[in-house]
């Protein structure tokens, strides 16, 4: 079998159409190919081969060494070395250790973890069992959000089927190694994706982060050594074992190995899940795989990493996608959300949208995050409503940098990113909003006004379309919009066939 066999199979099934041609599917290798509720289907695509290989006589140290050598890094966002994490847990001496799968995928617009669990749940179980063997744990827990009912159902079925086939449970395949997996549901708090908050939640406490150290590898769930990895990371593990660390590390860049799954969304022709080798440029993902921007519009920016990430302006889209390069330009890899923004979008509004999310999801434990994000949101809100004051940009920068430095967990440390990156690259838009009370993109409703120009022939179409009767005028005469009544819904603008309505 060739080294790329796992990916070639996807190509065989899906054809060599542009969307798949330049992808390399490792984590998604079985998604869309196997029946996720059928263990036989998974076994047919070399499922559980990696676990069997490990259990048939590879020492746990050798498994960890292989993962380390592969260069696999955590796909949850921070990119910590997976092999190193395993080694730290393996080194601890304890009567009980835990292996956790973090499936609390909360970023708006990201759905790769759900897709992996819904399309290929067994691979996650297999990855966890391999880790259990490597670090000396017999207990795995999948922490998944309750908003994913189908994923939970498939995972339950998969665990049951694997247990029946003795691929999980006591004395797996007669090797003497036992590993059991159970599911814990999260109630949908974004902060519970943070590892310490996640473990608090499993323990039955309120989901709030705690300071580190001690790190989970030393004292995690129920104060026992705990290994916690993201769904996508687990999905990569069986491939590293089967195809070998050398092959895995041949994909990607010097410091970021393997592939990354992105949820491509926003103003793009081919929305979807794409998996590309690390080091692929944003341009390639957006224009070659994603098929470009609909309606011939121009690309303005790309937002990566969800609410914790930053906005990358169009002139930097030749940046290769890897942990370091994205970090250098003020964004992050994150869990892999990729939102494409076209020229019709206002960057201030976008920053406000993401901050609204993190602000409402802030758990409130530490002051910088709780108070700081609230104050930042207040300033952003007044800027988008045309009430911005001189000095607001500087205040946002100062607040943002303080929150980044002083917050307890990743949520606060990354919450200002969308604001800081848009200020860095689109400062002129902020200045326009504040000094000229103008939103160039025409997206901030409160700053908009609709007026009728001399092209109006008095057809009355806008008058009929206006839901608040703000338009008056006799037939065949120029109409007028009453600015006091106008709610800026834009219906007249859409209705007019004579370009007689100006927006601005």
């Amino acid at each position: 079998m060739t080294k790329q066999s796992m990916h070639d199979r996807s190509l065989d099934v899906f054809g060599k159409a542009g969307f798949f041609k330049s992808q390399l599917r490792i984590a998604l290798r079985n998604c869309g190919i196997i029946d996720p509720e059928d263990l036989d289907d998974y076994l047919n695509v070399r499922g559980f081969e990696a676990l069997a290989k490990v259990l048939s006589g590879i020492k746990s140290e050798a498994v960890i060494a292989e993962i380390k050598k592969s260069g696999l890094r955590g796909r949850g966002g921070a990119g910590f070395g997976t092999g190193l994490k395993w080694e730290l847990v393996a080194r601890e001496r304890s009567d009980q250790k835990y292996v956790i799968c973090n499936a609390d995928e909360g970023d708006p617009g990201a759905f790769m973890d759900r897709s992996i669990i819904e399309g290929d749940p067994f691979t996650v179980l297999e990855g966890m069992a391999i880790a259990g063997y490597a670090v000396g744990s017999d207990k795995g827990i999948v922490y998944i959000r309750a908003e994913y009912p189908l994923a939970i159902k498939r995972l339950e079925k998969a665990i049951e089927a694997a247990k029946k086939a003795n691929l999980l449970g006591k004395d797996i395949l007669g090797s003497g190694f036992s590993f059991d997996i159970e599911i814990r549901l999260g109630a949908g708090a974004f902060v519970c994706g943070e590892e310490t908050a996640l473990m608090q939640s499993i323990e039955g406490h309120r989901g709030m982060p705690r300071p580190r150290p001690p790190y989970p590898s030393a004292s995690g769930l129920f104060c026992k050594p705990t290994l916690i990895n993201n769904v996508e990371t687990w999905a990569n593990v069986p491939v590293v074992i089967i195809e070998g660390a050398d092959w895995f590390s041949s994909v990607g860049t010097e410091k970021s190995k393997g592939t990354k799954v992105f949820a491509l969304a926003g103003k793009i022709n081919n929305t979807g899940l794409v998996e590309v080798p690390m080091g692929t440029t944003l341009r390639h993902v957006i224009f070659d795989i994603g098929g470009g921007i609909p309606g011939g519009k121009k690309l303005k920016a790309v937002q990566t990493g969800g609410p914790s990430g930053g906005c990358i302006p169009a002139h930097l889209i030749d940046t290769p996608i890897d942990y370091e390069s994205l970090g250098k330009i003020g964004s992050i890899m994150g869990s892999g959300g990729m939102i494409v923004i076209d020229e019709d979008s206002c960057m201030v509004s976008i920053a406000k949208f993401f901050l609204e999310f993190t602000q409402s999801e802030s758990c409130g434990k530490c002051t910088p995050c709780r108070e700081g994000t609230k104050r930042m949101l207040e300033i952003l809100t007044r800027i988008t409503e045309g009430q911005g004051k001189a000095g607001d940009i500087e205040k946002l920068e100062r607040l943002g940098n303080t929150i980044k430095k002083a917050s307890l967990c990743g949520l606060g440390q990354s919450a200002p990113n969308p604001v800081l990156s848009t200020i860095k690259y689109f400062r002129n838009e902020y200045e326009d909003h504040i000094n000229n009370k103008k939103c160039t993109a025409g997206a901030c409703e409160k700053m908009l006004s609709y007026t009728i120009n001399d092209k109006c022939i008095g057809c009355g179409a806008c008058k009929k379309a206006c839901p608040v009767n703000a338009i008056s005028g006799a037939v065949k005469q120029k109409h007028l919009i009453d600015q006091k009544l106008c709610t800026k819904c834009g219906e007249c603008y859409k209705t007019c066939k004579f370009s007689a309505i100006d927006k601005g």
Partner: protein, 83 residues
């Protein structure tokens, strides 16, 4: 069929194929997970062991009926199917 595909209408399509099978038509029917092509969901793939696979995109109940009639029963893939 992942959550997003069900939302895009794949359940109605699946129901069509299931009822065709219940009606006596003999073929192997299987659900898959998400392939990542949100922009063309729901998708149906028909595999003829001799002629190879044909992929249909943006399938709805009406198109599913057509696929059953023309491709599964008639043996002729629809013109729009991608090989």
């Amino acid at each position: 069929m992942a959550t997003c595909e069900i939302a895009a209408g794949s359940k109605e399509v699946m129901d069509e194929f299931e009822s065709a099978r219940k009606g006596g038509l003999d073929f192997y029917l299987s659900r898959k997970g998400c392939a990542g092509r949100c922009h063309v969901e729901p998708t149906v793939e028909v595999v003829d062991p001799e002629k190879g696979p044909v992929l249909y995109t943006k399938v709805d109940a009406k198109k599913a009926k057509e696929i059953i009639q023309k491709h599964l029963i008639g043996g002729d893939p629809l013109a729009e199917g991608e090989k």
